[in-house]
């Protein structure tokens, strides 16, 4: 007799297991995929007589758990169904007069899983049969129609090494179908970082602006289970993009349970406290679960105040805090407590503080100037910024500091500088203000549930998620600006779902949902002021904030000395200019060059409706047929201003009332008069996407099963993709009453620098600044795009081996359509002829905008091997092979997060293997647990390697013809700093047959990213734990990164001086700015970081940590 595994039995539950007349029946754990709107499951089956096998009518069925109780009676055919059951572990009992009562313990119900239990009752004495125990988290799930991986509480501990671990990221990496991208972020079946869905208790767990996770991928002890569904589930799952991850919370039980967790670190500093408590009232009406976890770490690669730049990082010190409070309350009422109200709340705050551990004397100025401390600096004291602006404007440091917007928290008075000491003193300039990132979220759900009858279950829920991250980025010494941003948003939604067991063969689910996304994106950056003041921007409008004309030294602009007669004496004119700058009647004294601003405001409302039938003609065959329709409404501004011309001869659509350019879209068509207009695809405004879902599972033998599914999924465009608006009001409030600056005429040869085409007149200085900032830094204001859709196919074979070992192999294919990318296309006239730049002879290009021109094709194989045992060796092995093709150039900037495609590559239709995925990854989580209380749990990760190198071939325009040509320091579209090959400067050859005099000396491939990095494999965490038998005390040691692998992926050294193949020159790692870091050059390319080599690697991983912990079960 195999006893049902007690692994999932809540501690303290008295076992009422009675050996009944069980003859070779198998517990089926059927999964119909994670249910977006539900956190409940069901049990159904047919009770038959042991003699003759006939269905037994009138059998009383009861399911009891510490938190809930359900009951029913079999129908005339012996069939019963209990739906809307809370996730828990139940004891099932079957009673019928004249038959031996039977109880089955350890029946686990998980979210949206329908367990099939079909016992046989006998009139004879109990005979011992055979029960095959199968873990719901195991690889063999013979009735699972969708490809879902469930991780139970104990498996979470096993796959992370210990309970109360924080890293949801690492947990995801131990599952098949999940891959770590080259940035370290989890993606599902190779999707991009915002092409996957996260849920917690059925609540969308992605932010309203970018669709990223909102919980920082930090677990709390309140997670009861995690379900990963790569691809599509059944129609009840609102799958986002490439897959969905759903977390289910623990609930209160009776008897109560709880725990305390204390953790501390020997080096570097870290500590953690976590506690949980769950209880239920004796009558089962009330239950509550509460958990808190607080975690603080201060990881450092080197000792405090050591020069972190020697190992290539400005941020040796990484101080992080995580606080998480979760509460899950239930109140049950009604007949047989068939109704319930759930109130779920989570409040989480995760913060990151990054500061350098000691840039030493190399940061700002030199030791002679008195510098010895950390080197972060406000932009107004950064020597790079100061020298750049001085060179471009001729201004002094003091004058520059007077016109640059002070950073939040910056001392009010600029740091004084003198001729003998051209950089600010350390006391004034040096900061201990770290780079900070705050990622809070609070999530709330109230749900009403009603078991109308045993086979009918209804839920209605309301939820709200608020997640707005703060990015506080100060000048880090490699760029001269300060930035501050809020990014995220709020979701509010409602959902209704009904589950109905129509008959013994059909389980029907229908539902509807609607939710509203309000984004928050508020960016303030000094980059506009700095770059505009140096004339980098289009209109050079920042020059008007300068006290003198940098070209003539005199005041000749509109805004200096306004209203005062300009003297012909240059010295007097200069004095007038200085006075005018400070005292102009148009520009207030102390006016600063404005910041760069970003403030999108479009909202989005999503809705969905679905219908799904699970048809089970036999106990071994299950078919899911369903369809869902998802839609979205984007609150886009009207495109009418773009199409409203005053006459057939008009050349612009200037608003008659405001005289400003109100068109916010890129022109994409022509009207009958040959005027450019905007036409928006209806699927970009109000997309409606039907998504058929078909799946089946078939247990072909006792220990073998197959399943397959097809499902269409959708990813609606994140608001960040189509709304890039700048705050027009910011600029017009300050400068809307001032006439446009004539400097535009000097800088551009035309006063017409406004509008999306930058060719229209400007109605004011404020409008000029607005369009200057909008188009230079944020692009076209509104860029409507259709949603991405995916066709997902997968097939699984699974097998149950002896000794509780199970195997599942799943090949899959996904085809993406209308993938979201940034792209720019050739400008054409109304006849489609390319427009030519009269000066260069090359094509004119439209600005880069969001488009649906991306292509994705993914194939792969997932594998999982599990062994679930209470003692001895158990664990999980997962592996994923993936091959993904896309038309995004590998290793290009933001390849897996809002990617872009160069025009030539797009025109050629090039497809590449993506550069952000390793083709093969694996994870092994092993556990040895002895009856004496010792537990050893290593978790090891393997990565084949990530794509590196820019390849031998690049796409570029050659005489206005897109071509794939050899990639050299001349032809590479990414610029010479990314070149792999260098031509002979005295005999370069042709663009198609270049003379290569030198290469970087590393392995090359035709395509970018065609070579894999050599990884330090077997990144391993190790846990050693001891819990004396019968004791509530648990002692442990957890070692992170046992082998100390901290260096990250190699990246091309962008400051490599090519001497000969594989040989870099002495200037490697430096810039030409002699003012930057005396005696060191650009220090973050020091030798310790392999800064002399063609590739550099930097520490990015977690340093080795030793963590002692004590846990107490309450």
């Amino acid at each position: 007799m195999y006893v049902l595994s007690r692994l999932f039995t809540p501690r303290g539950l008295a076992s009422r297991f009675t050996i009944g007349a069980l003859l070779a029946f198998v517990l089926f754990f059927n999964s119909v995929g994670t249910l977006f709107a539900s956190t409940t499951g069901g049990i159904s089956g047919t009770v038959t007589g042991a003699q003759g096998g006939q269905g037994l009518a009138g059998v009383k069925v009861a399911a009891v758990s510490p938190s809930s109780r359900y009951g029913g009676v079999t129908d005339g055919k012996g069939f019963f169904s209990l739906q809307g059951m809370d996730t828990d572990t139940y004891t099932l009992s079957f009673e019928l007069a004249g038959y031996q009562p039977q109880s089955i313990t350890g029946v686990n119900v998980f979210a949206d899983q329908n367990v099939n239990v079909s016992p046989q009752l006998t009139k004879s004495l109990i005979t011992i049969g055979r029960v095959v125990a199968r873990s719901v988290g195991g690889a063999f799930q013979p009735s699972q129609t969708s490809d879902t991986y469930t991780v139970t509480t104990s498996q979470i501990a096993n796959q992370l090494g210990k309970s109360d671990s924080v890293s949801e990221t690492n947990l995801i990496f131990t599952l098949p179908g999940s891959t770590r991208d080259s940035s370290g972020y989890p993606v599902i079946r190779g999707g991009r970082e915002n092409e996957e869905g996260f849920q917690y208790e059925g609540i969308p767990y992605t932010d309203a602006f970018t669709s990223q996770f909102i919980n920082s991928l930090a677990l709390n002890p309140g997670v009861f289970s995690l379900q990963l569904t790569p691809g599509a589930g059944d129609a009840s799952i609102q799958s986002q993009g490439t897959g969905t991850l759903n977390l289910i919370s623990k609930r209160g039980t009776r008897p109560a349970f709880g725990s305390l967790d204390f953790e501390a670190l020997t080096y570097p500093m870290a500590h953690q406290f976590a506690t949980e408590y769950g209880f239920a009232s004796p009558d089962g009406r009330f239950s509550n679960y509460v958990a808190f976890q607080g975690n603080t770490t201060n990881a450092m690669y080197q000792a405090h105040n050591a020069d972190s730049t020697r190992i290539g990082t400005f941020f040796s010190q990484q101080y992080q805090t995580s606080r998480d409070l979760t509460d899950n309350f239930f109140y049950k009422f009604g007949r047989d407590l068939n109704q319930s109200i759930q109130v779920f709340y989570q409040n989480q705050s995760v913060s990151f503080f990054s500061n350098n551990g000691g840039l030493g004397p190399y940061a700002i100025g030199s030791a002679a100037a008195g510098y010895s401390g950390p080197g972060l600096c406000y932009n107004s004291c950064d020597p790079i910024a100061l020298s750049t602006i001085r060179g471009a404007t001729g201004l002094t440091n003091n004058q520059i500091q007077q016109i640059l917007m002070p950073y939040v928290g910056q001392p009010a008075a600029p740091c004084p500088v003198t001729a003998s000491s051209p950089v600010p003193t350390q006391a004034c300039a040096t900061l201990n203000h770290p780079i900070q990132q705050f990622q809070p979220n609070d999530t709330f759900k109230i749900q009403y549930s009603n078991n109308i009858d045993a086979s009918t279950f209804f839920t209605a829920k309301f939820f709200h998620a608020n997640a707005v991250s703060t990015f506080d980025l100060i000048n880090q010494g490699t760029a001269y600006y300060d930035e501050w941003a809020l990014q995220g948003g709020q979701d509010i939604g409602v959902a209704l779902d009904i589950t109905k067991q129509i008959n013994s063969k059909n389980l029907l689910k229908i539902g509807v949902n609607s939710y509203f996304l309000h984004p928050i994106d508020n960016v303030t950056s000094g980059v506009f002021g700095l770059l505009d003041a140096t004339g980098f921007s289009f209109a050079g409008a920042g020059y008007d904030f300068l006290p003198v004309n940098p070209f003539t030294g005199a005041c000749s602009y509109l805004y200096c000395g306004k209203g005062v007669a300009i003297s012909s004496n240059p010295a007097t004119a200069t004095a007038q200019a200085l006075a005018g700058y400070g005292g102009s009647s148009f520009v207030a004294p102390g006016t600063f060059v404005p910041q760069a601003m970003q403030n999108p405001t479009a909202n989005r409302r999503d809705w969905g409706v679905y219908l799904n039938d699970t048809f089970s003609p036999t106990d071994r065959l299950k078919i899911d047929l369903g369809v869902r329709i998802d839609g979205s409404h984007n609150s886009l501004p009207s495109e009418a201003p773009c199409n409203t011309y005053a006459s057939a001869a008009a050349t612009s659509t200037i608003d008659a009332t405001s005289a400003a350019n109100q068109c916010l879209y890129q022109y994409n068509a022509f009207n009958s008069n040959g005027q450019p207009i905007v036409v928006i695809d209806p699927q970009a405004k109000n997309p409606v996407v039907p998504e058929p879902r078909v799946a089946f599972s078939w247990q072909i033998g006792r220990n073998d099963a197959i399943r397959a599914s097809y499902g269409r999924t959708v990813e609606f465009a994140p608001i960040a993709d189509f709304d890039s608006r700048t705050s027009r009001q910011y600029y017009n409030n300050l400068y809307g009453s001032i006439a446009p600056t004539p400097f535009a005429l000097i800088w551009n040869g035309s006063m017409n620098t406004c509008g999306v085409t930058q060719t229209n007149p400007c109605s004011s200085f404020g409008e000029q600044l607005y369009w200057d900032n909008q188009l230079n830094f944020d692009g076209i204001p509104i860029e409507p795009v259709k949603p991405e859709t995916f066709n997902n196919f997968d097939f699984s074979f699974s097998h149950q081996f002896p000794a509780n070992i199970a195997l599942k192999v799943t090949p899959f294919y996904r085809r993406g359509y209308d993938a979201l990318v940034l792209s720019n296309t050739v400008k054409t006239d109304k006849s489609g002829n390319p427009l030519i730049d009269p000066l260069t002879g090359g094509f004119l290009f439209n600005p880069s905008v969001s488009s649906n021109l991306g292509i994705e094709r993914t194939t792969g194989v997932e594998m999982q091997i599990t062994r679930d045992l209470g003692y001895g060796i158990s664990g999980e092995f997962a592996a994923t092979y993936i091959n993904e093709l896309s038309n995004v150039v590998p290793l290009s900037s933001s390849e897996d997060f809002f990617p872009s495609i160069p025009a030539a590559s797009l025109a050629l239709g090039n497809l590449y293997r993506v550069g952000f995925l390793s083709p093969f990854t694996a994870a092994l989580a092993l556990q040895y647990k002895s009856r004496g209380g010792l537990r050893i749990n290593p978790v090891t990760f393997y990565v084949k390697g990530y794509p590196i190198g820019n390849g031998l071939i690049t796409a570029n325009y050659v005489n206005n013809v897109p071509m794939n040509i050899p990639s050299t320091n001349v032809s590479f579209s990414g610029g010479s700093t990314g070149a792999m090959q260098y031509v002979d400067p005295m005999n370069p050859g042709s663009i198609t047959r270049p003379n290569i005099a030198a290469t970087r000396g590393s392995a090359l491939s035709a395509s970018p990213g065609g070579v894999l990095s050599n990884n330090r494999n077997l990144f391993t965490n190790l846990d050693i734990e001891f819990q004396p038998p019968g004791s509530r005390n648990n002692f442990g040691l957890f070692i992170t990164n046992l082998f100390g692998n901290v260096y990250g992926l190699p990246s091309l050294n962008s400051r490599w001086q090519p001497v000969a193949t594989g040989i870099g020159g002495p200037k490697t790692g430096t810039t030409s700015n002699v003012l930057t870091f005396p005696n060191e050059g650009q220090v973050n390319y020091a030798a310790d970081r392999f800064g002399f080599a063609p590739f550099i690697i930097s520490p990015t991983g977690t340093p080795t940590e030793f963590r002692l912990y004590y846990q107490l079960a309450l």
Partner: protein, 377 residues
Amino acid sequence: MFKHSRNLIALALLGGLVGCTSGQSAVEPAVSGANLSLDKATLAVGVATFFDGTQGTNAVATFRQPNGNSATLVNTPSLTGPAAWLVPAAPASAPATGVDGGTNRITAAPQIQSGVTSPVPVADTLAQSGGVFSYGFAPDNASTSGAIVTTSYTMPFWAATGFTARSYKGGPPAYPQERNGLSGGGTAFIGFAQGFLTLNTPAVAGTYNLAINVTDSVGNSTNFAASATLTSTAGLPPYGAPTSVVEDGAGGLTVNFVAPAGVTETVVDIQDLNYCFATIGGSGLGSVWYSVVVQGSGAQSAVFPANLGPTGSSAGACGSTSGPSVLTGDTYGVFLIGADYPLFEAGPPQNVSQTPTLVGAAGQADITIAARATFVY
């Protein structure tokens, strides 16, 4: 785990919460370095005769891989003459000689990191930019940007007051057309090097030694050497101005000249000083070069076809005028460069021998250069 910020500059930070990153640790990719010992340097010296009859020194050097390409993209050469060969200490014109002044050598400065103040960068004739490449000395040492560098020295070094130093490039028809948008050097490559370096200091009979140092980023140093002997300081006669230049009105022209005795070949270079400036105004395309090679001495003619001008996207609006060699209204210069050694034949792209012949029958590389004759088409 950190969230990504949209539209903000990405930061290179630690991976996030403790234990969040795993399995990405990597090692430096394997790099296979070139075998520098296979590279070879050659040197030839001769007398340079300037148009006014004064004479100086001509130095021709190559530093090539076995396939004829430039051996390295960065190197540090020095040229040491006989003891009596004098480098001026305070020349009237560029380049400054720094520590070379008053000695018998010209040197390039070792490559050091930008911003380094100790040791102080060496001030010398060729500075850190000067190197020897597949055909001649040039300030083309690569920087950390990796961009192609195709500049040329203006010559002669230390030109006398009133004497304008010039640079020289080779173009079609003698050299391949590079101004058609198809050049492997892009728009930066405007013509081929012609290998000679003239210096306004008298040539002295004796042995000249070329030393080239190649140092890598970790201090490994490799040295190369070549030498040449100057036996005669007579030099070639000065080169007179063209006798006539006949324009065909379609962009082509014929240069008639008399090559001095002793000249075995003349490279006639035409430089449109700012192509298309007169047509479109504004900035134009800058210098565009054409070259014809004529053998022998005495009365000669060099014919430049009419349709050698820039074409393709590299020509911009000028390309729309079907590429005449010289556009009406453009100012152009005519250079006559006479040599008694295979000046044209020794250089790329026609010569990819690792050790080309750089001397004539007399065993040295004498050169005579006429003053630039300027015309408006």
